[in-house]
């Protein structure tokens, strides 16, 4: 994994105007992974989308860290259910076409 894919937490804090403690709390609850290289802390570029969502939930809807965790768990469940709905719809279509 190249260093280019990692983003320095300090940079993120400046860009998004958030406290480093907020990102660390997200990490402590298991919502994002932090990678430590020497004395610097980074997060993976791939998780930026999720991090932004967490910042918005906190900033725009006043959802606290525990609430964000609940929301993310529910969203994960929803994604799985959506996939299941697609599979079931296709199966139903198959049986309706073969009545």
């Amino acid at each position: 994994m190249g260093r280019r894919e990692l983003i320095l937490i300090e940079t993120l804090c400046i860009q998004y105007e958030v406290e480093a403690s907020f990102i660390k709390e997200l990490h402590s609850i298991g919502l994002i992974e932090i990678e430590k290289i020497e004395n610097d802390e980074f997060i993976h570029e791939e998780t930026i989308g999720d991090l932004e969502k967490m910042i918005r939930l906190n900033r725009e809807l006043n959802v606290n860290i525990e609430g964000i965790d609940v929301v993310f768990n529910l969203l994960q469940k929803e994604i799985k259910m959506q996939e299941e709905i697609i599979a079931l719809r296709n199966r139903l279509k198959f049986y309706e076409e073969n009545k």
Binding site: Q15, Y16, E17, E45, E46, I48, G49, E52, K53, R56, L57, E60, L61, N62, V71, L75, E78, I79, E83, I86, A87, R89, N90, R91, K93, F94, E97, N98
Partner: protein, 297 residues
């Protein structure tokens, strides 16, 4: 362009206090926020409406103008004056940027006419945000997705090369990283979500990784046994038919079905249903022989 009743949008009376507005807005925002309603166009539309209503009603200056000229926005002379003064003072206090963010085009024509767009921000300095996620539909033939293949698409003015894995489902969505809207203030680009609409252009029926087909079996082969050549998705196979095979008998050809999504080299099964064909236009001789057989039973 229609008049937009911002009070109605937030479910408020015109006498609502600042506190009422904030409370109503927060409640609706929690319900319709795009981060909580992924891929829900109705929620996104509703969220934009409530955001716009809040933009106006939570700002005393804008609210006053709206209350005074709102309904007569199309003719009012005073409104015109107010509008001219307004253009340099507009303030944006709603949500800013992000995948759920707003650009000027996210405000209604009514808002743009009355308040001159959403320029300006209450934030100090540019905050970088990821660009907007975009959605697109792609129609594919079932025969196209039997093998992993590449396609070049032209979407939103840019050429995108994508790899479509074998075995994708109808209705399935894949994410193409960084191919969505441009990042805000130098932030990363959004993602592109492509939804596949799979059209069956074959005689096979598909249920996930399994394929189904029906073949005709002549009466004599069904009774006495024999061989039958059957079409599969990637060629023909010769099947041994057992003597006394009943109509609607199903046989499962393992590994002759559809590729399993993201499991290279693995396939589902092909289920073949035999339809025994009864001979018609029997000759006198045939009728006699069938009668003789009938007597034997």
């Amino acid at each position: 362009m229609d008049f937009v009743d911002y009070y109605k949008t937030l479910g408020l009376e015109r006498t609502a206090t600042e506190k009422d507005i904030k409370k109503a807005y927060r409640k609706l925002a929690r319900k319709y926020h795009p981060d909580l309603n992924p891929n829900n166009k109705d929620a996104e539309k509703k969220f934009k409406e409530i955001n716009e209503a809040n933009e106006v009603l939570s700002d005393p200056e804008k609210r006053e103008k709206y209350d005074k000229y709102g309904k007569d926005w199309m003719h009012g002379e005073e409104f015109e004056k107010a509008r001219q003064q307004q253009s340099s003072r507009s303030q944006h206090q709603g949500f800013s940027g992000g995948a759920s963010g707003f650009s000027e085009s996210d405000f209604s024509d009514f808002f743009e006419s009355m308040f001159g767009g959403a320029r300006g921000s209450s934030r100090q300095g540019p905050v970088q945000f990821k660009g907007k996620d975009l959605n697109a539909d792609l129609e594919l033939n079932l025969s196209d997705i039997y093998k992993t293949h590449r396609q070049i698409l032209t979407l939103h003015g840019q050429k995108i090369r994508i790899t479509i894995p074998a075995g994708v489902e109808h209705g399935q969505e894949i994410k193409i990283k960084g191919k969505g809207g441009k990042g805000i203030n130098g932030g990363p680009n959004g993602d592109l979500y492509i939804k596949f609409n799979v059209v069956n252009d074959t005689s096979f029926k598909r249920d996930g990784e399994n394929l189904y087909t029906t073949v005709d079996l002549d009466l004599y082969t069904a009774l006495l046994g024999g061989t039958l050549t059957v079409d599969t998705f990637d060629g023909k196979v010769k099947l041994n038919i057992k003597p006394e095979t009943a109509n609607d008998t199903k046989v499962r050809l393992r590994g002759k079905g559809f590729p399993i999504y993201k499991k290279e080299g693995q396939f589902g099964d092909l289920i073949v249903t035999y339809k025994v064909k009864i001979p018609t236009q029997l000759s006198e001789k045939e009728k006699e022989l069938f009668k003789a057989l009938q007597k034997l039973r």
